[in-house]
């Protein structure tokens, strides 16, 4: 009995605490922007989310970051909470192009504008605007540089990201749309390393056992490029085999500067996040017409132009 009362008291106190927090936020009258990110278990998305929050705060909004943990159902719960708590806009990095559509529609029905960042949803009407990284075109540019670097001849390996992810295939298809035209370039292995540095190193170590005579590695992101490089370094093939990444992460930009990695596709998460935040601000202030899609180009970074770049963007 005593215990039950104690528990009840604790619960009541907790509720009181939250109530007060809620009131405090409302009384200040500050408008709120929610930032929903597909996963914070990946440095690139952490950066995207932080930049979006930073810009929204600078524009005078209260912000909150939600982590969907790559799970559409959890994302749906976040949207429910956001709608109930009366947020004014959502800066959204979707978990899945199809699976996230219903969530965006739910917010739209509740009168909350949604601005997609980096990843697309397969619906034109649901989101107010989509600011997207052009992964396919970026991979095409890498493909061209790849052909040039390998002089149209040689054996290569492709490390794919998560096989269930849209970006994995957009990058792979863009790359192959160029490279497959050259019969001298032979893909000896295509394996997934889940966008993960350690997995990429281990997969690469095993691939090197089967194919010690390769000339290039194309990786679906920079974490895997660093993992592949580490495996090549241990095998004593670091200089000989050219490594290509995608993202423009800090480690790879440094590695390109030092000649360890050949090239990467620089994405601009800060640009995308800031554009989305500015759009949200304009919407809240009354503007209603926005471009359906704003493509943000992916730029090829090589040792020739690496001086112009820093992690995740231009200097």
């Amino acid at each position: 009995m005593k215990q039950t009362i104690c528990k009840l008291l604790v619960i009541c106190c907790t509720i009181l605490l939250f109530e007060q927090c809620g009131q405090k936020a409302n009384s200040s009258g500050q408008k709120k922007v929610a930032i929903v990110i597909s996963t914070l278990n990946n440095p690139w998305f952490v950066f995207l989310g932080e930049k979006a929050a930073e810009k929204a705060r600078a524009l005078g909004y209260e912000t909150k970051l939600f982590d969907s943990q790559n799970n559409t159902a959890l994302e749906s719960d976040h949207f429910d909470n956001i709608i109930v708590q009366g947020y004014n806009a959502i800066l959204f990095n979707p978990t899945d192009a199809d699976g996230s559509v219903a969530n965006v529609q739910k917010a739209k029905a509740a009168g909350i504008p949604v601005f997609c960042m980096d990843r697309e949803i397969n619906s034109l009407a649901a989101a107010t605007s989509q600011i997207l990284s052009d992964s396919y075109a970026g991979a095409v540019a890498i493909g061209k540089y790849f052909v040039q670097t390998l002089h149209k001849n040689g054996n290569y390996v492709e490390l794919l990201g998560l096989v269930g992810d849209n970006n994995t295939w957009a990058r792979s298809k863009g790359f192959h749309s160029v490279v497959d035209h050259y019969p001298g370039l032979k893909m000896v292995a295509q394996q997934s390393a889940d966008f993960d540095r350690n997995k990429a190193m281990e997969v690469m170590e095993s691939i090197l056992q089967a194919h010690p005579d390769i000339d290039g590695v194309f990786c679906g992101n920079d974490a895997m490029a660093m993992g592949a490089y580490q495996a090549l370094l241990t095998a004593g093939k670091a200089g000989k085999v050219k490594v290509f990444g995608f993202d423009g992460a800090d480690d790879v930009v440094n590695a390109i500067r030092q000649g360890k990695v050949a090239a990467t596709g620089m994405q601009f998460p800060a640009v995308m996040a800031q554009t989305a935040a500015v759009f949200a601000d304009e919407y809240i202030k009354g503007k209603r017409s926005f471009p359906q899609k704003v493509p943000v180009a992916v730029e090829l970074v090589t040792n020739k132009n690496v001086g112009d770049y820093a992690a995740y963007g231009k200097k």
């Binding site: 440095p43 932080e50 292995a189 394996q191 993960d196 350690n198 095993s206 089967a210 974490a223 580490q230």
Partner: protein, 329 residues
């Protein structure tokens, strides 16, 4: 009579560790037939180097499972300890308020990481024994807490470029054998010594076999259980150091789902999930089987879609064979 039953038990256990060894040999022969790249010294060392981390983590897991517990937090603990090692090595310990900075030697960061692992494991054991929280729940909570702490400590970004000396732990060799393999061997020998030669080892088996009987025979169960979880945390920390050193970078998302690989190694190695039965050496076999499988599927360039199906199938097969073997005894 007691003498006889003891011999049968050792006999049975010997057969059991042999079973995983036989499975490993069969798998190796099969892969050698399928590809000539498999059975080489280089690839053998490669597999052992890759398996070293799972061997460390799974050895700790074996001790926990022998007490009829489970530790789901090892992957997150591994990530946090790896991050602590990298962070202390690179940035030291900064006290902004006191304008104080403590730099660490490599030995210092290794010790700090292992102590951190021990503390996290100790906390698991404390919650389990003090509040009677089931190990599954307590360590599930720690899985999330330690991952969150890793994110906080690293701010979600990798900590890279740790220097050549630190890289030696993961990439170096001693007497032709990779350093991670030596480290894993040390961890396994320590665990084998504990389980076979010490009173703590006998208590571990006793608690897993029959907790009530163990209690009545005067064993201080909370003390033993806390010790076991602390050891599992420390071994996960050793795994974290190896991963961080091999990559020359502490990844905030390192070790995700490593607990499943570790549990798989323990189970394939013939340790009973209900506790009391199993050996550390069986787990080593289990871990190597998983490593050989990962390596073989890549060597054969099997589609990534199929790899997951095959891996799951092999785990299932190993356990079914194990069960049938048990019945026949």
């Amino acid at each position: 009579m007691s003498g006889m039953s003891e011999t049968t038990i050792t006999y049975k256990q010997r057969i059991k560790s042999l079973q995983s060894l036989i499975a490993l040999v069969v798998l190796c022969i099969l892969l050698s037939v399928l590809t000539d790249k498999f059975f080489t010294t280089d690839n053998g060392l490669n597999i052992l180097r890759q398996t070293a981390v799972n061997i460390c983590v799974a050895t700790g897991m074996t001790l926990v499972v022998l007490t009829a517990g489970i530790d789901l937090s090892v992957g997150s603990v591994l990530a946090l300890c790896g991050a602590i090692a990298a962070g202390l090595l690179k940035n030291g310990w900064v006290f902004p308020s006191a304008d104080l900075y403590i730099g660490f030697t490599i030995f210092g960061v290794l010790l700090a990481a292992i102590i951190a692992g021990g503390v996290l494991g100790w906390f698991n054991g404390f919650v389990i024994t003090k509040f009677k929280v089931p190990p599954f729940v307590a360590t599930l909570a720690m899985l999330t807490i330690a991952r969150g702490l890793t994110m906080l400590y690293t701010k979600g970004q990798p900590i890279s470029n740790l220097g050549a000396k630190f890289a030696f732990i993961g990439a170096g060799s001693f007497l032709g054998i990779p350093v991670p393999v030596w480290i894993a061997l040390l961890v396994v020998l320590l665990a084998a010594f504990i389980t076979k030669q010490t009173r703590l080892g006998r208590y571990i088996y006793a608690i897993g076999g029959n907790e009530t009987a163990a209690k009545f025979s005067g064993i201080n169960i909370p003390k033993v259980v806390i010790m076991v979880y602390a050891l599992a945390g420390m071994m996960a920390a050793v795994g974290g150091i190896i991963v961080t050193s091999r990559l020359d970078s502490a990844q905030p998302n390192a070790g995700v789902s490593y607990e499943l690989d570790a549990i798989a190694a323990v189970v394939i190695g013939g340790t009973s999930l209900s506790g009391g039965r199993g050996t550390v050496w069986g787990t080593v076999m289990g871990a190597i089987i998983i490593g050989v499988l990962n390596n073989g599927l890549v060597l054969l360039n099997v589609s990534p879609f199929w790899q997951q199906v095959v891996k799951g199938g092999v785990i299932l097969l190993a356990v079914i064979i194990d069960k049938i073997g048990n019945k026949n005894d």
